[in-house]
Amino acid sequence: MSERKIRVLIAKPGLDGHDRGVKVLSRGLRDAGMEVIYLGLRLTPEQIAEAAVQEDVDVVGLSCLSGAHMTLFPKTVNLSRAKGGKDILFIGGGIVPKKDVPKLREAGVAQVFGPGTPIKEIADFIRENLAEEKRDNKD
């Protein structure tokens, strides 16, 4: 049985236009064997949540370098959960001060990857966490 490819949605909520990271990551995760949908920039949390649920993705990657992450990331998580995306793994990236990371984790963002993170580290994190989730679901 061929296993379904991991589906990842990558998006930039808010008004920040720095998209080097998301573009490199989209391509990198694709090269790592995942299916990646890059939704684009200047999106509302509603638009991202809607797309995440409709596309039935396993992972949502959010990027923000403007400092609005504390507003935008939790809102996207909550809306996605409310729309039925219960098992989606959320990850974040951008210019995120370290002290914000625990708060984001609490809000449902599993991990925050800062500038310079190797693509492999992110791909490995996704695989490990999805595998864990599957195991948990079987219990």
């Binding site: 890059y38 403007s66 400092g67 609005a68 992450h69 210019i95 002290k99 500038p115």
Partner: protein
Amino acid sequence: MAEEKEERPERRKEFRTTVGGTVVKRVYSPADVNVCREEDVPLPGEYPYTRHIMPGGYRTRLWTMRQYAGFATVEETNERYKYLYRQGQTGFSVAFHLPTQEGFDSDHPLSAGEVGRCGVAIDSLEDMERLWEGIPLAEVSTSMTINATAAIVLAMYIATAEKQGVSADRLRGTVQNDILKEYIARNTYIFAPAPSMRLVTDLCSYCAQNLPQWNSISISGYHMREAGSTAAQEAGFTLANAVTYVEAMIDKGMDVDSFAPRFSFFFAAYTNVLEEVAKFRALRRMWARIMKERFRAKNPKSMMLRYHVQTDGFTLTEPQPLNNIVRVTLQALAAVLGGCQSLHTNSFDEALALPSELAVQVALRTQQIIAHESGVADTVDPLGGSYYLERLTNQIEERAMRYIAEIDHMGGALKAIEKGYIQREIAQSAYSYQRAVDSGEQVIVGVNRFTSEEKSDTEVLEIGAEVEKKQVARLEKLKRERDDERVGQVLDKIRDIARSDKNVMPVLIEAVKAYATIGEISDVLRDVFGEYREPSLV
């Protein structure tokens, strides 16, 4: 003699300036400089200005140390500016928050979380007036990083000056007003490229007639470099955009020498010092020749590449942030050795957050140490004549000119952007770079080599949530108290003029004086011009 030829192997199979950069030879000699002709490298101040645009370089006048700053509401930023003004700084550089840059008021749903974050919140003329309270606009020069809404923000600046009793012809400063690179890299566009070009050229021609001391555009390679381009791509793509602006102005019926002297540029400085110096020298030579040979400019000022440099933000690392002070020093050194007119040095904590006061001070001191202690500013183009540097200057010029020719072949920068050519080239370079870092081929100290466990105790600047509440309340009050009928009339007038081929600047000045907001004015223009959506290229 066989023993003498036997050598120890080199550290690498191939040496390059940067990923995707120029191949570097073991040693350079007069044979390499033979390709460097006298007419290419005359004395500083002589066409094509390879060595410097002025004969005396920094011996006459140091570069302007211009630190980009802006955060929270106008009060906080005004306080910072007044402090800097008292310290003797007369060159300001305004960072606007993203809603101002993208034409949204602070109470727009898309502004949630962004208000005052990466710049100062400006919704209306009232905010702009407060921003400059206590700072005489006749005495300072102001650079504003604003593009899609540049015409509206400049209108606010002109109106603020007028209230201070300062006429527009006395204003000195720069608006970035470079929309083309927004579609390529920075992404704060609003409208489609064609109407955006009309706004750009309206602003430039208005300045040519009314603000003779104002730089009406700052054509920027910086953001393309940030997005991943190589040094040669940065040079080639920036000048290709510049060519498109010059052509658009000529199409508007303007004489090249009437506006080109007020065209300015903005580039990045990476850490490979010699490659950056070579890039700046190549750029000066290329621009001079393009203006003289292609556009038949007669005024030497039209041929002189005047530019601002910012040390490159992408090169800053999150781990071991103090290492960034060293990176910024090398980058700033490259900018000075390359002959920039003004310079911003990044703060070491900018991979973590907005810079703290301490970090900003170290960044400024870095420039002062280079200016006053290093000695590199005491002679013009101190590296000129180095076999390696001259060779590298020629190579970057050749590669950049090939990009310009390629874009010309496609029908110019607008077409190349529509086709996604420039975006794809840059994305490819960015990906190659990441692969090189991930594989360890490109060493980044503290990231993929020489890593260490560290404490996360760097103090960073915080912007509280109260900033947004305060700004939204202020906007509501403004809307309650102003003359709404007058606002409605002037917005209608903007609609009519936007549909005509008249210059939009005068009506924008009228509109901001009626306290129409940036969101309201942008919405009218959205109606007329339509909004741009980025094509899917990933």
